[in-house]
């Protein structure tokens, strides 16, 4: 349960209030609930009403150093489905031979969270490296799912895209053989989540793998393609 999220349901409407220390963002399906909330808060605390949300914790960052206006855009799409992408390189670190996981999550076409982190233990095969990455991707999905259910949105099996078939098979069939039997128990967390129907691991071609750029430098074309796919767009192209 997120302690910074406050929810109030009244009949068919819902008001969501997200608190960040003394900053508050809130929204409701019914404008009246918003007004009521504003009055309540102003009665209780000394507030400055900032009006419609346009800048929050530096989330609106307009200019990059190279002078282009590139930013994360939430474009119009009606589908409310959650997707996860998981990718990992193999032995990315030359010093300790650990691999790097890259994961990202989208709600509809909007990029919500991403992560690029060196794995905590050494993987012996690409399958194992990807398997670990799927695990951390799935953990994030669990949290996002819970958060969305607080918003009043029920998501069923969340697709989690991975480009390694043997890692996918490993999540479905609990087989042990010589190349995988050492994989630590905690990475088998993912197996439980799959059998419980929290997420569904799906195959995706490497070309369409959106989390690709989180683990390694890419060629310009591919990088730009993935960037556009994730909704990181040039301001001047839209306006």
């Amino acid at each position: 349960m997120d302690k910074t999220l406050f929810i109030k349901n009244s009949e068919n409407d819902i008001i969501l209030v997200q608190v960040y220390v003394d900053n508050i963002i809130f929204g409701s399906t019914n404008e009246l609930l918003c007004q009521e909330f504003v009055l309540d808060m102003q009665g209780e605390f000394e507030m400055s009403m900032m009006g419609e949300l346009n800048y929050f914790l530096g989330l609106q960052i307009k200019q990059l150093q190279n002078g282009t206006n590139v930013g994360l855009w939430y474009l119009n799409e009606v589908t409310l489905n959650l997707k996860g992408y998981s990718y990992s390189d193999f032995v990315g670190c030359k010093l300790d031979r650990k691999s790097t996981s890259g994961t990202c999550h989208l709600l509809g076409a909007s990029l919500i969270s991403w992560n690029s982190k060196k794995q905590a233990c050494v993987a012996l095969s690409t399958t194992e490296a990807k398997y670990i990455a799927i695990g951390s991707c799935c953990a994030q999905i669990c949290w996002l799912k819970q958060q969305l259910s607080n918003f009043g949105l029920k998501v069923t099996e969340v697709p989690l895209f991975c480009d390694n078939t043997s890692a996918i098979n490993l999540t479905k069939h609990p087989v042990h053989h010589s190349r995988t039997k050492h994989i630590e128990i905690r990475h088998h967390f993912i197996r439980e989540q799959v059998s419980n129907g929290i997420c569904e691991i799906k195959f995706i071609e490497s070309e369409k793998q959106l989390a690709d750029f989180l683990t390694k430098p890419l060629a310009k074309d591919k990088f730009n393609y993935l960037r556009t796919e994730l909704g990181i767009l040039d301001y001047s192209n839209i306006a």
Binding site: Q18, Y20, V21, I24, F45, E52, L59, G108
Partner: protein
């Protein structure tokens, strides 16, 4: 139970040219004297994960409602403290009366732990 001491912090605010434009004085509590389990219970800061904020943004956008924003003026100066609190005054202040040694706290930000517990829970 530890007595929480106080300290005056003086700071000069400068403009771009480095000219002092404002003098600020602030009475702060030496909250580090408190010990968990004795003076306060579990403490936490209401900090949202940035993903949670982005998720709310995306959700609000996709389900088509407007988001608003507000700000509490100076986060910790709000909310009343229910229990009676005494704080030890700064020894720097020349006090004549014994009673002046203490400040009776009613609406101050001295005990952040208690304040967060009482004032900010919904």
């Amino acid at each position: 139970m530890n007595m929480i001491g106080t300290k005056w912090v003086f700071r000069n605010k400068m403009d771009e040219q480095g000219i002092i434009v404002r003098n600020k004085a602030r009475l702060v509590a030496k909250g580090y004297n408190q010990e968990e389990g004795i003076d306060c219970d579990e403490t936490y800061a209401p900090v949202a994960r940035i993903e949670a904020v982005r998720l709310l943004l995306a959700y609000a956008y996709l389900s088509g409602f407007k988001l608003f924003q507000m700000d509490v003026k100076s986060a910790f100066l709000n909310g009343f403290i229910n229990a009676k609190y005494m704080s030890l005054n700064n020894p720097d202040l020349k006090t004549t009366n014994c009673l002046d040694m203490f400040t009776n706290l009613r609406r101050l930000s001295m005990d952040l732990n208690k304040l967060l517990g009482n004032g900010m829970k919904d």
